[in-house]
Symmetry: C2
């Protein structure tokens, strides 16, 4: 069926489209200097990846499978597919470290070609890293090399079709290489939407959303990505899966939930069938002020537990509200801004009106102060821009990164405090720790932290220590090591604490069954 026009590739040392890069205004630079000092930490240039380690005969086999023009070994193509976009990934890339570059980039078209590539990789013991948008922030694109003949990046960028739409059942079947905007554009032609808008939306892919259990900024209204998936197909070195005979089933364990979050370690997702919605006729975003993070998050809990959620519901803590990293021109604009909540409504005019009235009444009762549409619209305008600001701050010697977790409501205050303390203790005085709640459930919520500190001589090691401290605090609080960014390699040391030794054995058993030689994204996910 329909196919999409492509999203451009990202810069290998920065986020996104160079044309959209953030330039810090003088006012912001002044504040940065005051807080962290200004340094010149612009990226080195001219780095080249190691030579391709795969021998010519092996590559020729592969060319026969996908076509010669779809097996790429040039430096530029391999460089762009080296690692993802976490701050550690960027720090390595900025320092010219391309040690994790794939030996070749392979671009299959369709399920059968993916299957054939996996059989080839299995036979020749070549590690396979599925690549969608390259936006991973947990180290999921840096496969282990040892014990393998080489590593290929399995770029799904040719698989960008809308395969089927069922407007009665309100489902759409999409290929994994579709980026967020491409998928939405194809659905918009029929008046449909997924409503999945993570910060990575402009570059991340449908397959990546599924493989990492992504959750978007409109999750209060549209749900997590995994909740949208009603069916999927996946290729493994030992056969294929085609799951999802009904919206819900009691035909044994839900195997869809085993592939969702499997990060390319069990198989390559070659299509997903997703619940879609009618594209909203009306969108409205508003701001509310709360006297404290506790008061605001209690209000979120009441909304979630009374079935009164808006489409978007976010709450910044006192520090994030004051700083508002996403919009440096607003820094310091207000003396006591309290905590900013953003509420958003999407749908038909009647539904938006009714929900907005009910939520407004509830939030007013709970002690919120309405701030009108300006803060909401400002948030919506900049909602995908955070990573550009990170690049600018990294250039000026600020260490900036985010991390996230989720917990039950009872644990929210303790988790917020413990993770903040862990980060500050590790990074030292002057560290900024900002937090917001961006996803809510009846029983709990996510916490999303942004951290900024002065870069030391070795910012990578500096961050790894802080991240380890935060991860220890998360695990000690009984929370999850990732609410919507997956395990990758960065969270792997903490997974066993969350799912236990028996849980780890189950993952290994499934891996051994589907991928007996372990060629699928080795070193990722499974402890």
């Amino acid at each position: 069926m329909s196919s999409a026009s492509p999203v451009p590739e990202m810069h290998p040392q920065r986020w996104g489209d160079p044309a959209s890069a953030t330039v810090l205004p003088d006012s912001a630079l002044g504040l940065v200097e005051l807080a962290f000092g200004l340094q010149d930490r612009r990226p080195v240039s001219g780095a080249r990846p190691p030579a391709c380690a795969l021998d010519a005969a092996l590559l020729d086999d592969l060319r026969r499978v996908v076509g010669a023009e779809h097996v790429l070994v040039d430096d530029a193509t391999r460089t762009v597919r080296t690692r993802g976009k976490s701050t550690p990934d960027l720090l390595r890339a900025r320092a010219g470290d391309l040690a994790d570059a794939p030996d070749a980039v392979v671009r299959p078209d369709g399920h059968a070609e993916v299957e054939a590539v996996l059989r080839w990789a299995d036979e020749h013991r070549v590690a396979v890293v599925p690549f969608g948008g390259g936006t991973c922030v947990t180290g999921g694109l840096a496969a282990r090399r040892d014990g393998f003949a080489g590593v290929i990046s399995l770029d799904l960028g040719r698989m960008r079709r809308l395969l089927a739409v069922d407007e009665v059942s309100m489902t759409a079947t999409l290929e994994p290489g579709l980026r967020g905007p491409e998928a939405e554009a194809l659905l918009a032609e029929r008046g449909l939407t997924l409503g999945h808008y993570p910060q990575s939306f402009r570059h991340a892919s449908i397959g990546g959303f599924a493989a990492t259990r992504s959750s978007g900024q409109s999750s209060a209204g549209y749900g997590r990505f995994d909740a949208m998936v009603v069916g999927l197909t996946a290729a493994t070195p030992t056969g294929s899966l085609d799951l999802g005979a009904a919206p819900a089933s009691a035909a044994g364990p839900d195997l869809r939930q085993l592939l969702l979050g499997s990060e390319g370690a069990f198989g390559v997702i070659t299509s997903v069938t997703l619940r879609v919605r009618r594209a909203p006729a009306v969108t409205a975003y508003e701001g509310w002020r709360w006297p404290s993070f506790g008061a605001g998050s209690d209000a979120m809990r009441v909304l979630a537990q009374s079935g009164l959620l808006p489409t978007v519901l976010r709450l910044s803590d006192e520090a994030e509200t004051a700083i508002n990293l996403a919009d440096p021109s607003a820094i310091g604009a207000t003396d006591d801004p309290g905590c900013l909540m953003v509420t958003g409504y999407e749908g038909t005019e009647a539904l938006v009106e009714a929900r907005r009235a009910a939520v407004t009444a509830a939030l007013t009762d709970l002690g919120g102060t309405p701030l009108g549409t300006e803060p909401g619209e400002r948030w919506a305008h900049g909602r995908f821009d955070g990573p550009y600001l990170r690049d600018a701050l990294l250039d000026h010697g600020v260490l900036v990164e985010t991390l996230e977790t989720a917990c039950f409501w009872s644990d929210r205050a303790r988790l917020h405090a413990d993770v903040s303390t862990a980060l500050t203790s590790s990074l030292g005085e002057g560290t900024l720790v900002l937090c917001h709640v961006s996803h809510v459930y009846e029983t709990g919520c996510s916490l999303y932290f942004t951290v900024a500190a002065r870069q030391g001589d070795d910012p990578l090691t500096q961050w790894q220590a802080a991240k380890a401290a935060a991860s220890d605090a998360i695990v000690a609080a009984g929370a999850t090591i990732s609410h919507h960014h997956a395990i990758g390699t960065d969270h792997r040391p903490w997974l066993a604490a969350e799912i236990g030794e028996v849980g780890v054995r189950v993952l290994r058993a499934v891996k051994a069954e589907l991928d007996p030689r372990g060629v699928l994204n080795p070193g990722v996910l499974i402890p």
Copy 2:
């Protein structure tokens, strides 16, 4: 924490409490005679189970684990735990066939005792059948005996505590042996509810709901049971699982979803942490008339896809509306009753009022005719009584059974037709096939069939042929072999068609890892 007073055991050859048995009034008997002829097919009495095959030393080991009084080998105790309550199960029990009786009934108290029993079973190669309420209708309580030293029924009836309640997060941790009414009574002391009301509610257990992915009659409002589970613990012969660090997570595949629906074949669920709700202040049930099943189910789809669901939403097809098996006194009361829809609303007065008004407006727009509260209250009154009527009809020589499936909305009409045709073709002229939709989703719905025919000489074989024909039709339509009753042994031949050969291999690999000697419910679930 709190413990519950017990629900009485069921009759070994009938459903439920003998005091609640249905006696068919003369008017109903007349109609039954007209439709199927009257036969005397009352159960035989005096059957005894085979002698216990486990040797005394083995049983003594077990007595040391759980206490001598909790290892029971008497005939009555073993007879009551023989198989479940499907019509095939009842036909066998009524004929005096107790070949599937367990050798002993073992009643552990708590996770550690369950673990110890499983290690004992693993060591001595004894098959273990977890037993909650004994309401299974898919053959999940009849384990394979061959290759085992014997079979024990692992009765979870002593594990009936409410272990924890978190009224901030709105979660409750319950033990698996709690029956539906016991769990609700314990939660009601705190003004809470699960809202899970399958037809088996009065006898079925929390552990069974989880292990079979149950769905209740109020699923439109409260969700499926699997959707309520935020955490669980399970014991296996090789270690224990404790899952659920947050309401939702991206920390790899969702392993909770692997235990849900595992039917005792992967492990024994020893507690579940469930999302709870405030007990409703108001409940209101109403009836609507639709000119056809198609028109009514289209209306359900519109409600589901516009986020406007009542708490209960059910629709009977023309035949079920006319016959209304659950209330024989109403048979034939109306000449053209069309199709009856039941809508139910539960919650605070304000929420019920608002939702009822919105749904009423939508259903009126869509062509429904409101019938007031009487049909809704009548449904609510008899909602758990269907199985008693089945016993009465079986006594009189009618073969009665139910089966269910689910599909995407586009496939509903075809699935309804194909399954009906398969049943009628197999059972012959005069067969009654009734159907209702009892669970809806944005993308699809369940179909629940009730079948009645004259019992032939061998009603068990007669039903097995009809069930096979219906199952073939379900699989051919691409629907699920079970929406809320699990696989057991009865659906096992059709599971591979649904999840594929690779899916089956995944189940086997998980089983082999957790239960390497295969003692957990052998022959159940896994093809």
